[in-house]
């Protein structure tokens, strides 16, 4: 009996001791996720520089109305430009683009009971959450900026193999470019913002949009200057090939050479100037500056910053990651429908019209905005039978087929060149640029050069061409703003001779629309409440 006692007591004590003497085992690391330490190697830094740009910049927080920056944030821009409309209330998309009023052919004045500016501000509170249009682009671009700050902080501290100099230059150019891109988008749509070079921190100093654009240009120039110093193209190309998703690297989405990269930068800087100045007040010097940049901008054969869909592990999904995907297909069920005003701006014999747009049984939007019933649908090349007439395909949900332009494109550069030329008295040269774009996209239109177009006619060619060729590329709202369309009629805004299909089936073709939209957006409440403006800050609300 005694023996048992001792044995059992011993076992008890031993058991206790065994499990106690293990304070060390409390040191449990997260076995699933790497820490920043793992990004402090060459391959780790590459992984971070690739993933954080696309995921933090264009995916996180954008899982609404599709699944990326290119469906949600681009979507708002296309709505505001009257390229598409929506009837669903998600993210407030059915209301952000309802004009103040429209006067129909029969004289009826259709008035918006809740003007856009008031509506946007009603929704600029933290509790409105997903309904706040101001929130998304802000959070995406600051996510992108923060990723860049992290890459820049690591680059230079991480040992690199081989041609370390070229690699470091590539990382830095990559980060400065995307910083420049983030500030370009912020400064082009927000009334004010923050310049932030910290990591996961912020500061309360708000600056106006011009300062954001200046910050953009500063970063872009820094990137360009680094790129200009790169001579070892193979090292550069190999690294860039890892930073850009492999499935993006098809067609003109392949790795741009340092020179092509610089040309993308120049085009973006041209855009920074062009879209943030109202066209009516552009000076000759402004046009010359745009022209100078565009002349050193993207060429037809250049690779640019664009992306494609893929079946899985995508940045934007084939079925919903782009405005094109959310507009095409079954027009009675798609998130967006094609605006009558977009189609009316397309020349009837433009092959791009037949290739992409079909007149269908009118879709009467009875629960959304009042100007937005439509007779048009956008083909989805995946399920619809399309003519294959050689023109560019706007929407194709087949994985791998949908291209989305992240940065500027050849067409945009060429049309900026055209606009600068036309506005500086070189109409024919400008029209030639427009034709370059039409040829590039397979429009199949008769030539407009040497047909004696005057300035206004040439500008109308330009306007129409920008409307169509830059569709869904995230710049349409800038155009509507700089051309004045979105402003109140009293400020020279609005448009006449607009096509409007009323919910009762009546088609007006000479309607007047007074949009009266907010030109530069207020800072979202999510920022202002959690990071109140400090002394000397620029106003966070557009006085309009």
């Amino acid at each position: 009996m005694k023996k048992y006692k001792h044995i059992i007591t011993t076992v008890f004590v031993a058991g206790l001791a065994m499990t106690t003497a293990c304070k060390k085992q409390l040191d449990v690391k997260n076995p699933n996720s790497p820490t920043l330490e793992q990004a402090k190697t060459e391959s780790g830094l590459t992984s971070l520089a690739a993933g954080s740009i696309y995921i933090n910049g264009f995916v996180n927080g954008d899982g609404w109305l599709g699944d990326s920056f290119f469906s949600l944030c681009y979507g708002f821009h296309e709505l505001l430009a009257d390229d598409v409309s929506a009837q669903a209330a998600n993210q407030n998309v059915n209301l952000v683009n309802v004009p103040d009023y429209a006067i129909l052919d029969d004289g009826t004045k259709v008035v918006n009971t809740q003007p856009q500016i008031a509506n946007l501000r009603l929704n600029n509170t933290r509790d409105k959450q997903s309904q706040n249009m101001f929130y998304y682009e802000w959070q995406s671009m600051y996510g992108l900026n923060n990723a860049c700050n992290q890459i820049l902080a690591l680059a230079g501290t991480v040992p690199l193999s081989g041609d370390a100099g070229t690699k470091l230059a590539t990382y830095k150019a990559w980060a400065y470019w995307w910083k420049g891109y983030a500030y370009a988008r912020l400064g082009s749509v927000y009334y004010s913002g923050i310049i932030n070079n910290g990591i996961s921190v912020t500061n309360p100093t708000y600056v106006n949009s011009a300062a954001l654009i200046a910050e953009s240009n500063k970063n872009l120039q820094q990137a360009a200057s680094i790129l200009s110093g790169i001579t070892a193209n193979d090292t550069y190309t190999a690294l860039m090939g890892k930073l850009i998703p492999s499935f993006f690297q098809v067609g003109n989405g392949q790795v741009p050479s340092p020179a092509m990269f610089v040309r993308s930068i120049n085009t973006l800087m041209a855009r920074n100037l062009l879209v943030n100045t109202r066209t009516s007040v552009m000076t000759a010097a402004n046009w010359q500056a745009v022209l100078a940049l565009a002349n050193t901008g993207i060429q037809a054969s250049d690779n640019v910053f664009a992306g494609f869909t893929t079946t899985n592990n995508y940045i934007f999904s084939p079925g919903g990651g782009s405005v094109a995907a959310n507009t095409s297909g079954d027009e009675t069920a798609s998130s967006f429908t094609i605006s009558e005003r977009l189609v009316q701006d397309i020349k009837p014999n433009d092959k791009r019209l037949a290739e992409n747009f079909q007149q269908v049984t009118p879709f009467f939007n009875q629960v959304g905005g009042f100007t937005f019933s439509t007779r048009w649908k956008l083909y989805d090349a995946k399920i619809d039978v399309v003519p294959h007439n050689g023109a560019i395909q706007i929407a194709d949900k087949t994985p791998g087929n949908q291209e989305v332009y992240i940065g500027p494109s050849y067409e945009e550069n060429e049309l900026m060149k055209a606009e600068a030329l036309i506005n500086t008295g070189q109409i024919e040269l400008g029209l030639a640029s427009i034709e370059n774009v039409r040829n590039f996209q397979g429009a199949g239109l008769p030539k407009v050069t040497n047909t004696g177009l005057n300035l206004a006619q040439a500008l109308e060619e330009l306007r129409k061409e920008r409307r169509l060729s830059l569709l869904f590329r995230g710049t349409a709202f800038y155009d509507a703003r700089r051309w004045g369309v979105i402003y109140d009629i009293s400020e020279g805004g609005g448009r006449t001779n607009a096509v409007v299909l009323s919910p009762n089936g009546v088609l007006s073709t000479h309607a007047t629309i007074n949009y009266n939209f907010l030109d530069y957006w207020d800072v979202p409440a999510d920022e202002v409440v959690l990071n109140p403006p400090g002394a000397g800050s620029a106003p966070v609300k557009n006085p309009k």
């Binding site: 499990t19 699933n32 971070l48 993933g51 932030n196 492999s246 009042f370 919910p503 990071n531």
Partner: protein
Amino acid sequence: MKKNLLLSIFFLLLFAAGNFAMAQNRTVSGTVIAKDDGLPMPGVSVVAKGSKIGTQTSVQGKFSLSVPPSASILTFTFIGYQKLEVPIPANGIVNVTLIPDSRQLSEVVVTGSGIATSKARLGIAVESVSGKALTSSPQASIDQGLIGQVAGAQISSVDGTPGARTNIILRGINTVQGSTSPMILVDGIESRTTDLSQIDPAIVDHVEIVQGAAASTIYGAQGANGVIQIFTKKGRAGKNHIDISSSYSGSNYINQGDVHQAKLSSFAVDANGIFIDASGNPIVRNQDGRYLGIQWAHGADPSIGAPTAMSNPLNIAHQQYGTNLKYYDHLAQLFKTAYTSNNSAAFSGATDKSDYALTLSNNHQQSNIRNNGYNDRTNLTANIGAELFKGFTIRSVTQLIYTKNTLNPNYGIGNAGGIFDVLNASPFYDFNQKNSDGSYPLSLNSGTISVNGSNPNYYTQWANRVTNREDLLQSIMAEYKINKFVTLNAKYGLNYQHTEQNTIFKNQAATLTAIDLGSYYGAFASDPNGELDKSTNSTTFQNFNGSAVIKTDFEKDFHIHLPITTSTLLGYDYRKNVDKVFNSYGLELPVYAIYNFNQTATQAVSFDNTTPFITYGFIVNQKIDFGDYGGVAGGFRSDYSSAFGGGSKPFTFPNVNGYIRPSSFSFWRNSGLGNLIPEFKIRGGFGEAGTQPQPFDRYPTINPGNIGSSLTFNLPTSLANPNLNVEVSKEYEIGTDLSIKGASGNWFSEINIGATYWSRKASNVIYSINTAPSTGGSLIKTNAIGLSSHGFQASLNLGVLKGRDFNWNFTTNFSSQTTTITSTSGPPIILTTAAGSTQLALVAGQKIGQIYGNKALTSVNETNSKGVPYIQPADYGKYTIVDGRVVDIATKGIQFANEVSSFGDPNPKFNASFINNFNYKSLYFGFQFDWVYGSHLYNQTREWQYRDGISGDYDKAVDIGGTSGAYTAYYRSAYADIIGGRNGARNGTKDYFYESSSFLRLRNISLGYDFSKLLGNKVFKKAVLTFTGRNLLTVTKYKGFDPEISSGASNSPFDRGVDHDSTPNSKSYQIGLNLGF
């Protein structure tokens, strides 16, 4: 006469004693049986009164004791039975029957103090419920059975999906990040991953519930939510017992609020009543099964201020269906009667040195939704104990649980999508109509209406899911009583579960839906070619618990004449948990019906994650009792945790409690008071308990993620915080337990009351708060929140009538509790319910769980928070009051404030239950009412049906400023408008849909009859036929299906006030047969 009899016995005894005064010790023997089941009782303490001589009955209930000649009376005591004193007769044979004691104070409990202690000697409240008291339900689960049985606990059956768990709140909200679920222990071992709802109720001997921190301190840094401990049945002496029970039930979904779709409409029709499109053509069903082109009779007309057709006041619902569009009852097409079977067989027995109990049970519960499968659970439990040598016992309890669930992925717990799709499909769609390709249509979107509708049969036709889960809950317990002072106890538990969920989305490429519309049902696939999804997860949890209990009795052990007894608990508790998840999928299935990964085109891993967690702690608790008069106890527990990494400091939780029993003092006993109130105890306690951060909350990482085929890193937008602290809940409680001497007759002979007031404060409560988006992220975890709760709980037990053949027992349990947020870091924390759509807010100074949204104006002169009137006095005449809300007479629109505010506390003011049990000979009858008062639900289910005018409410005429009509615009405004935002607040959270969900429910009614005696057969020890009804009657004003629903995250601390298309509970009728051999 009685007195004389007693006296004579006394003298007889004296005589007998005198006779044997000089004699030797003699042997007394006998058998003890239990009154309630007639079985022998092992382990009954038998003591010769006035001496220290005693023994325990054997497993056959027999005892034999050598007593000195002076001994004249034997005392029999056993937990839960009335103490019995019996004179020793001359022949020395004492056969007794012990009667169960309904007075709760005689119960002995373990939970909360760690040492078996009579409730009479506890300074804290511990509730206990016997296994027999658990009510039976189609779910056959302990948590369902506990509803209403525990004073102070809020247990709610929040979802009618087979396999769904209840929501349990014991005392207040003490954490926000996690869940309110208490810790579950089975025989002292934590059941970390096997949920209470999975454990077989047939194996339950009794359940102990410790609610407060004062008691759960001994469970340390994870005990803040309280503890529910299950004690399993052991084999009992006598011949081997066989107990077989079977029951079968049918149940129908509850639709208390008469939820239905609008039978009227206000669509455009021609002169013949044919529904037409804008061109005047009749609406027809197209080849994809959709009716396109439906228009409201009156379209959007901004010239009269109607931005949408539905806001046009000219649209008035009236009888239209029956022509080219007919009305189908979608609820009848969706729901069906579900059948449930429960079968259980138990074998048990014991010898002198060992005992065994083996139970096999199966529960098979169908879904109330057509074509939607079932949940099937099989439990095998083996409880084997042995005394290897004197003082050393070892016990093994093994539970194997196998659960198979075949519910379709479109239906499940909470808002899984399917019910929403059905309720929001316009009623002119016939779900039973297929397309020409043999497939049901998928989308039933009619363009402008029925936008969110789809055919439920499409999902069951093209997808299915089978989930298999195996649970093992194994515990091995050894107890060694070294001597009268020291007992050592060691327990090791292994709780393992493995779940594999296989979902098949068949190849839908050939359907018209896919060809014409590009639509299909899938999870990962970006085409209609089908996919296989396999999700696996496992949990391995180990728990070692070693303790030493040291007991002393000053009088007996040290011969000090003080009535002091002490018990000391020294314990060590180690827990290790490893969760693993591995999910994969294969894309593109063949069109033939062989579905395996070999026959998919591509395969990928979608998630692979392991979460290890280790915590251990030391417990020291000291209890000192002063005779029957009172006692004090106190101690602490220190915990280490891997959430804080190696080298971290432990966190320590103290507790102290005490009690005094005035009724044990002679001044009380000998006064009239003692006569009136024979038992009166006051108790009080203070304690702290904690909730640890999640394993890696303090551990900053970056995120890995695939882009195409490359592995990349990105930065988290929700940041971990290395400075997080443990959440601490501090509580004090004060309570009383008392017995009142009832009437002397058969009526009201017993009255027992227990009541406790408690108050607790939780600090450092962890939650992710928003950060400014310019930081590049949106959230960071912090010790953000402070909480303050208090509550009152009471139970009253009445022996209403005690007769020879007839017994009537009544119990009522009461609980009221409330939790206020005392602080948050920074501005309000705004959230959306996990069920989707409804906003919640965590705001300092307000109750937790509040719904946050726009309130309707109730008078024309209301102002906003800045004092600005919403309506100018000149315009007052344009408005009227309808149903208490301000309505614009012209537009018919309800006027909602455009600022948001909290709607109030959705949690119940109290919940109570009333339990009656009647016995007449072999007949048993009982029923239980549950009353939940002051609760609210946000009826999001109803709000979504307002979107396209599908709710049945649209049929109801309202009087607006003297004209009456079923105005579409009136109802639509509740969904879409706020002041300044006509059509601009669609599906906004509005107080219009915030409804009282108080209810009184006949939870259970049961009639049983034991006909074993009728059979006159010795084969059956019992043969009980039972009829049971559950949820048969509900009284409520709630307009949804079921006022008990909560669609938020399971056991969420704050997300409990939303009803969003969850499966309602069912009312069921059950017939059962229980045979004992």
